[in-house]
Structure formats: C-alpha cells, structure tokens
C-alpha cells in the first residue's frame, strides 16, 4: 500500500469497511493462498472490486454464517490463509460456537473481520449494532482481538493479522468520513498499544472510533487544566499490560472509552490486569451501560451513551471531583 497524505484522506473518506476491501485487494497480489469468504455482504464490506478481480480467491457462502466458519476452517486445514467477513453481530455471536470449536479449540487459523461494529448502524436497531462482540470472543482462548482506530489502522491491522500465525478478530467501527487519527505512517504491532498524547493527570485507554473522540476530549480537558495521556489500545486481546503498569505509575485516574458494553470489553480487560497491580488508581469505564436503548443515528447514539467528546469530558471531570471530595 502506498502511504501518503492523499491516500490516508481517501481511506478516511470511504471509511473502514471500504478500506478493508482495498487492503484485501492489495494483499491478494502478494498472498497466493489468500481466500476471502463473505455471507452475501461483498458490497457492504467493500469487496466488489476484489470479488471481480480475484474470483478464485473469493467465496460467497450466502446468508449462512455458521457454515461460513466451518468452511473457513476446512480451507485453513488445507493451507489456505482465510479471511471471513460480515456484519459484526453475524460474524461473531451468530456463529460463536463454530468459532469456539473450529478456530479456538481446533486452532484452524482464520482472520475474522466484523464490519459496522459498535453503534454505526443505530438506525437499524440493536440487531445490527454490536456491543457484545469483544466480550463474547474474549473468552475463547487463542483469538487475538483488534479494534483499529481509523481507516489507515484498519489496513495495517488486516495485513498484520493475515500475516500472523494466530487467529484474530478485527472489529471495525466508525462509518464513512471516518476521522483521521494517523496522518502519517507509524509502527503497528499486534499487542503493543500506541501512546498518542502524553499527560500527567489522567490516562485514557481507548480503541476503535473512540480514539478520535478521546483525543478531542483531551483537548477540552486541557482547557480545564486536566492533562491526559491517550493510549490507543488497538489490541484488546492480548492486552498491553506494560502500558497499564506504566499508566498506574504516572496517573491519578485511568479511563477506558469504548463503543461496546461496559461489561466484557476494553474496560473489563484493563480491570482484569489492574486488580493485580498494587495501589493502582481507579478505573473509570466509559461505554454502553449494559442496556439496549432505542435506536437512532450514529451520532445520536454516541451522544446518548456518553461517548461524544463533551460527554467524555464531563464524565471525567465529575469523576475527578468526586474523588477529590471523597
């Protein structure tokens, strides 16, 4: 992939899903044994060009996700490097036991890509939103979970996951006109978080589309005299324990921001490590508070669930105030 300002802008405009399609198209050139499997979502996953260019490296299984995972495992057992993709709820929970048995337990290597995860499809209701995928897949041993911050990171994550020997789930959030977090090339390594801002009071861990919102929140917090570090925790499993240890030493408060249920996701992952750290600071977990709300536009739902930059700012300020009073 040619990384330059123009391409980064294009990827941002078309969003993570279409960027995934472009990345697949590029990777198919160099990876002979690549197979991309979908369940009647080639257009939604930005794979129309891929499908036409590489018909031999593409398989549409129809609207049948359980079968897709089994077929993926069968292809993998014969040496193919397999990517599966469909909308996040159907890529994960619909075929969860097939993932457990074939990919987790049997260890057939597959890279799964869940498109439009989080709240992006809020107009369609919570059948199509996905706030449970990290929690569900995190309990299956052997699956790496990645939540890219922007379209460019989606491309990097896909390449890394395909070239890795481990199975993975790439969780795509955001929509078209995906805000740009990375304006230039950087080093992406599975399991190694990226510190985007350095601050002394608070450390915000974030993933997916919430990275941009957290960066914006940080600017507003600075205006309020609160200095924040921002860490892009693009890999949620395995979690970057060193980054958490480091934050424990240097911050008064830890915050996690995610477009996922507060149960089972990034905040849970961090807290599972945090309980092993002596005298660790508190962790404020910001996400969807274990509820299926009424639907609405992406922005409306982010606001409603406290994930807009302003809401994140207020939540952190209130938490700090309470701590000071306590």
């Amino acid at each position: 992939m040619i990384v330059n300002e123009r391409n980064i802008k294009i990827w941002s405009t078309i969003g993570s899903r279409a960027s995934f399609g472009i990345a697949a198209l590029e990777l198919a050139k160099e990876i002979d044994n690549l197979m991309v499997l979908t369940c009647d979502v080639s257009t939604s996953a930005g794979l129309d060009r891929y499908r036409k260019t590489y018909p031999d490296k593409y398989l549409d299984l129809g609207i049948a996700e359980q079968n897709m995972i089994g077929v993926a495992a069968g292809l993998s057992s014969e040496g193919y490097n397999v990517v599966t993709t469909t909308f996040a709820p159907f890529q994960t929970i619909r075929c969860c036991e097939q993932i457990k048995v074939n990919i987790g337990y049997m260890k057939q290597k597959v890279c799964m890509v869940g498109i439009a995860s989080g709240l992006a499809l809020g107009n369609l209701g919570f059948t199509h939103c996905c706030i449970e995928d990290i929690g569900v897949l995190r309990t299956i041993p052997g699956i790496t979970i990645i939540s890219p911050a922007d379209s460019f990171e989606t491309i990097k994550a896909l390449e890394s996951a395909i070239k890795s020997k481990n199975s993975s789930y790439i969780r795509l959030t955001g929509s078209s006109n995906n805000p740009i977090v990375y304006k230039e090339d950087y080093n992406f390594e599975i399991g190694k978080s990226v510190k985007l801002k350095e601050g002394k009071d608070v450390t915000i861990f974030c993933a997916g589309a919430m990275v941009y919102n957290s960066l914006q929140a940080t600017e507003k917090l600075r205006e309020n005299g609160i200095s924040c570090s921002v860490i892009n925790m693009h890999t949620i499993k395995p979690i970057d324990k060193n980054a958490i240890n480091d934050a424990c030493r240097n911050s008064k408060l830890l915050v996690s921001v995610e477009e996922h249920n507060v149960i089972g996701g990034l905040g849970s992952s961090i807290s599972e490590h945090l309980v092993t750290v002596k005298n660790s600071p508190n962790l404020l977990i910001i996400g969807i508070n274990d509820i299926y709300s009424k639907g609405g536009s992406y922005n409306f739902l982010k606001e409603k669930h406290g994930l807009s930059p302003d809401k994140i700012v207020n939540n952190i300020i209130n938490n700090l105030k309470q701590s000071n009073n306590g």
Partner: protein, 274 residues
C-alpha cells in the same frame, strides 16, 4: 468377481476387528461409560471406507489421502478402532480412551500423528469442514474425495442444512455425506423427537445425489462405492442402520446410547463377535 469376494471378505474381517476394538475400549472406559450404540451402527460404513474405499497409506499425513470427517463425533469408538486397524493408533493407546490427559477423548480431538484430521463433537459442524476441504482439493486439482459421517439425530441441527445447501450450490462432486440413520437419538426414537423419515427426500431436494441403502450390508456398500458416475453434485447416502448393531444386548436398545460395559457383557460381547 474374485476381487469383489476378496474385498468383501476383507471389509467383513475389518468390521469384526472394529467391534472387538470397540468392546475393548468401552470396557477399559469402565464406569466412565461410552457412546456405544452410535459407534456400532457405523461399523460397516467405517470399515468399507478405511479398509477399501478410501485412498490412504501408512503415513496419516500423506498429502494425497482421502479425507474423513466424523461429524457425529460421539461415535469416535468406531473411528479410533479403524485408525488402530490401519496402523495410526496402537492397541496400547486405545486403552487410554477417555482417561486423564488422553489423546482419545469421548469426541475426536485433532491429532495429525494419530490420523485424526479434525476435531468434532458439537453436532452439525462436520459437513461445513468437509465443504472447505472439498473446495481446497478442487482448487489444487486433486481428485481425492471427502467423506463425512453424520447422524440422523444430528440432522436436527440447522447448520447441517446450511452446509447441505452450499455443497450442492458449489457442485462438490468429491464430497460424500453418509447419514447413519439408526432412528434413535440421545433420549429416544427420532420418530418421537424430531421425525427423520423423509431424510432421503430432504437431501435429494437440497440438490444431492441421494441413495438409501442398508448400512450394515457390506455388499451393498461395496457396490455403491464402485459405481462411478459423473454427477456434478455431492452424494448423500442414507444408511439404514441399527443402533448398537452386533451385540444381542445392545441392538436397537437406546439404553446403549451412552452406557457402562460390564465385565460379563464384555465377555458376552467377545463371544458374539463373528
């Protein structure tokens, strides 16, 4: 004709050895009990495949081997017994069946050294694996076949039909689904729980070349596997079988779905081996 008789005798002998191995494993499982009935109903099917039909050799990882998937994984006693007869699993290892840290659990766990190509146990998943393998072999221009053994009770699972639809859609003529129709499932007869009488029509309407035969009649199985047709579609065999086949105490007795083989019944079983 002489070849046919010779082959049929070979398959018959293999079946006797499988039942003997199954008895040994079930007995060594002791109070742990085992899925006895559903393993015995597939003995002739597995024997025909492993001793005659399937292309295999001494190397369990031979690239040109035919692939076998036991989708009804709980019938693994028959599978392990066959892998022992073809030399991949030792008699000694068979005795570790369901023991602590064993390679041979009550459902097959992938183990390339022992010739176990896939992991199964949760019903309704094996045919999808078979499709993936079948497509892979075609892509590599290999003319090997893939054999998947399913249960009739297993056909209650919706995922079986997702796979059935896909296999005919992709015209996978190197794929066989052998449905062990023993008319029982865990807690009773299929007739009472989820009627499977029209299985042949179902597979046929899903686009498979479907036959119904006696799954214990080696000559019938032999004839079927010797009929080569250019069908351009996957093949389903509804194998009419008897759960617990081969021993007077277990035939058609669903108490033997998962049960303990006592010393006296083990000895009785040994005497009944023919």
């Amino acid at each position: 004709m002489e070849d046919k008789n010779k082959n049929i005798q070979k398959i018959k002998k293999f079946s006797v050895e499988l039942r003997k191995n199954i008895l040994e494993m079930a007995y060594s499982a002791g109070a742990g009990s085992s899925h006895f009935g559903g393993a015995l109903s597939i003995v002739e099917i597995v024997s025909t495949l492993f001793s005659y039909k399937m292309r295999i050799n001494k190397d369990p990882n031979w690239d040109d081997r035919d692939r076998f998937i036991l989708s009804k994984g709980h019938a693994c006693l028959a599978y392990y017994a066959a892998l022992c007869e073809v030399g991949y699993i030792s008699k000694e290892e068979l005795k570790t069946f369901e023991k602590d840290d064993s390679n041979l659990l009550g459902h097959p766990v992938i183990n390339k050294k022992l010739g176990i190509d896939f992991l199964n146990g949760s019903l309704g998943m094996g045919l999808s694996l078979g499709i993936g393998v079948s497509i892979s072999l075609k892509k590599k221009n290999k003319n090997n076949s893939v054999f998947v053994v399913l249960g009739d009770g297993e056909c209650n699972e919706g995922s079986v039909w997702e796979a059935a639809m896909a296999a005919s859609n992709f015209k996978l003529d190197n794929l066989y689904a052998i449905i062990d129709k023993n008319n029982f499932q865990q807690t009773g007869s299929s007739q009472d729980i989820m009627n499977t009488d029209s299985l042949k029509d179902k597979w046929s309407s899903f686009g498979w070349d479907t036959v119904s035969l006696n799954g214990h009649d080696i000559e019938e199985l032999y004839e079927y596997f010797n009929t080569s047709q250019d069908l351009k579609k996957p093949r389903a065999i509804i194998a009419n079988t008897i759960k617990g086949k081969g021993f007077s105490f277990s035939e058609n007795n669903n108490d033997w779905h998962h049960a303990v083989l006592t010393k006296s019944l083990y000895e009785k079983g040994l005497k009944e081996l023919i």
